[in-house]
């Protein structure tokens, strides 16, 4: 049974149809590449899965639950995390706060029914996950805005992995990275697969896609135009689908 299943998902912004009946599924531990030209609907599609947008039609099921009426927080708690292209970090907040953003553990103030953020716990757990990821972040107390691009991405990745997700969506995770950092991200995708965590990878870099993904889905003008196993296709074929020559 598939972990994530989209059926005839539609999304309109006024008269503009961004998604025209998208159907596909992702199995546990599967890495799926989502490809498509700018404006093909990739980001819109991902935002309907994460709950930022509410689809105007169709059904999205994840792990036996209907996602359609759920908000982003509820969807995260079900086990879907997304690493956004712009990383979606709060620059003025420190590393630990960003990793636990929206899901801060709290404790009572002097036993009263007043809940305060458990900063000590957040910092300790953030430290652990940063070390586990082998990220080179000097301290979890640093302001995220003071970190380098690569370090900021480590924080975004750490946030996505801290709460034992079942599906991680990555939007262009390698676009802004140096060669060595790209390898690091690709290794991470392989590691997630090994742990049985599904990945949806949005990328323009076909070499990355072919290196780590099991399946490619091509989107064009809000429709799925190809859904093929990586082993049974080629880069040329995929490019043809994306540009509409196939």
């Amino acid at each position: 049974m598939s972990l994530l299943a989209l059926k005839d998902v539609r999304m309109s912004f006024g008269p503009v149809e961004a998604l025209r009946g998208v159907s596909f599924s992702v199995a546990e531990g599967e890495a799926v590449a989502l490809l498509g030209d700018n404006g093909a609907g990739k980001s819109t599609l991902m935002k309907t899965i994460t709950g930022i947008y509410r689809p105007t039609g169709g059904a999205i099921r994840f792990d036996g639950q209907d996602l359609k009426e759920k908000d982003p927080g509820e969807i995260r708690r079900l086990g879907i995390e997304m690493i956004y292209q712009d990383l979606a970090l709060a620059r003025e907040q420190d590393v630990a706060s960003n990793i636990f953003l929206g899901r801060e553990p709290t404790r009572r103030l002097l036993g009263l029914p007043i809940r305060m953020i458990d900063t000590a716990r957040i910092e300790a757990e953030a430290e652990t996950i940063i070390r586990r990821l082998g990220a080179r972040v000097p301290s979890v107390r640093y302001r995220v805005g003071d970190l380098s691009g690569g370090q900021q991405q480590s924080v975004a990745i750490a946030r996505a992995l801290t709460f034992s997700p079942k599906l991680v969506i990555m939007d262009e995770p390698t676009a802004a990275l140096a060669v060595r950092e790209v390898e690091h991200v690709l290794d991470l995708v392989r590691e997630l697969k090994r742990q049985g965590i599904a990945v949806i990878l949005i990328s323009h870099r076909l070499t990355d896609v072919f290196a780590v993904c099991d399946r490619v889905i091509a989107l064009r003008q809000g429709e799925v135009v190809a859904d093929e196993a990586v082993a049974e296709t080629s880069m040329n074929e995929v490019v043809a689908h994306i540009v509409g020559a196939g």
């Binding site: 994460t50 930022i52 908000d71 982003p72 927080g73 509820e74 969807i75 995260r76 708690r77 997304m82 956004y84 712009d86 979606a88 970090l89 709060a90 620059r91 003025e92 907040q93 706060s97 953003l101 929206g102 899901r103 801060e104 709290t106 103030l109 007043i114 809940r115 305060m116 953020i117 900063t119 000097p138 301290s139 107390r141 640093y142 302001r143 805005g145 003071d146 970190l147 380098s148 691009g149 946030r159």
Partner: protein
């Protein structure tokens, strides 16, 4: 941009202290106190310190509300008018309607919170920019206060209400106690709770807030309601101080409240805010005003001094933070 060297420059401990308050503001306040102590023999005394706290209390309470709203990259221009509206509604409840004092207090607070709620709902649901919504409320709340009272102050409040403005337990003015109490509570909320953290995150990166599951719209409504509630409290205190609900009370205070927050290091564009900073910012204004009064300097010059200190403090901040930041 050279983030790497920025990260190396400040040790973590100093960094977190610097995050909490803007050190420049504290230095400015201490220098002011030092200078005025030398300039006037009457400045440095317990009774004068209490005077300053009393005189600063109303602006300070408004400033704490402004701190939360600005933290979330919002703006509330209506707090001065809400103060006036809260003052007259509370006074009318006990005078015209003959309700008990406790109801009068509740009416002031709820009237303020209600105005804030309307601000929040119009900003988030109707998607009118906060600047416009609260500018509209500035007019509506003030107008309502004038209409309700025919433009005349409502004299005479019951004893317990007057005590809120004029009481002096152990010699300490009650408004000063309320001022510092609100400071302590709001400081805790802003720096230690999810409510405060989410306000800062919304101001920092609204998309990040939304993506991580923070209910941005709901939170903004709560923040404007809080600002309105505190303006109602400020209205109550200012009415109690003069034993009357004055429909013109608080005129222009919205800018003083914002000035206090900015002086204290709160970023006008959101994401960085501190209640302790606002407390310092309000005290800078209060100390300046008090000291210049003692030195018999005309209030016209006082306005100039406060304006100059505001620009100076933000300029020092920019110098210290270096380039590349808003």
């Amino acid at each position: 941009m050279n983030f790497g060297s920025m990260a190396m420059r400040r040790p973590a401990a100093l960094h977190s202290l610097g995050n909490m308050i803007r050190l420049e503001s504290l230095v400015v306040l201490l220098l002011l106190i030092l200078a005025l102590s030398l300039a006037s023999p009457y400045f440095l005394s317990v009774s004068n310190a209490l005077n300053i706290l009393l005189a600063t209390s109303v602006i300070g309470i408004l400033g704490f509300g402004a701190t939360f709203v600005i933290a979330a990259a919002g703006i509330d221009l209506s707090v001065g008018s809400i103060l006036g509206f809260g003052a007259v509604t509370g006074a009318l409840a006990v005078n015209a309607l003959d309700l008990p004092w406790i109801i009068g207090i509740a009416v002031s607070l709820l009237a303020g919170a209600f105005c804030g709620l309307v601000n929040g709902l119009l900003t988030t649901r109707a998607r009118v920019p906060a600047f416009i919504v609260t500018l509209g409320m500035l007019g509506v709340a003030r107008g309502a206060a004038l209409v309700l009272t025919n433009g005349q102050p409502v004299y005479g409040l019951p004893g317990p209400m007057v005590w809120l403005g004029q009481g002096r337990p152990f010699g300490v003015p009650v408004p000063a106690i309320i001022f510092l109490g609100v400071a302590a509570i709001t400081h805790f909320v802003l720096s230690r709770t999810r409510f405060g953290k989410y306000a800062l995150v919304i101001g920092d990166n609204q998309n990040a807030a939304r993506a991580t599951g923070i209910h941005v719209e709901r939170h903004l409504v709560a923040l404007y309601t809080l600002s309105g509630f505190l303006a109602g409290l400020a209205g109550l205190v200012s009415a109690a101080r003069v034993n009357s609900g004055d429909p013109t009370a608080g005129t222009g205070y919205e800018l003083a409240a914002i000035t206090a927050a900015i002086l204290g290091g709160t970023n006008l564009f959101g994401g960085r805010a501190s209640v302790v900073g606002t407390l310092i910012g309000a005290l800078i204004m209060g100390v300046l005003q008090n000291g210049l009064n003692l030195l018999a300097v005309s209030s016209f010059y006082q306005q100039m001094a406060i304006g100059a200190v505001l620009v100076l403090a933000v300029w020092l901040d920019q110098l210290n933070r270096g380039r590349g930041r808003a």
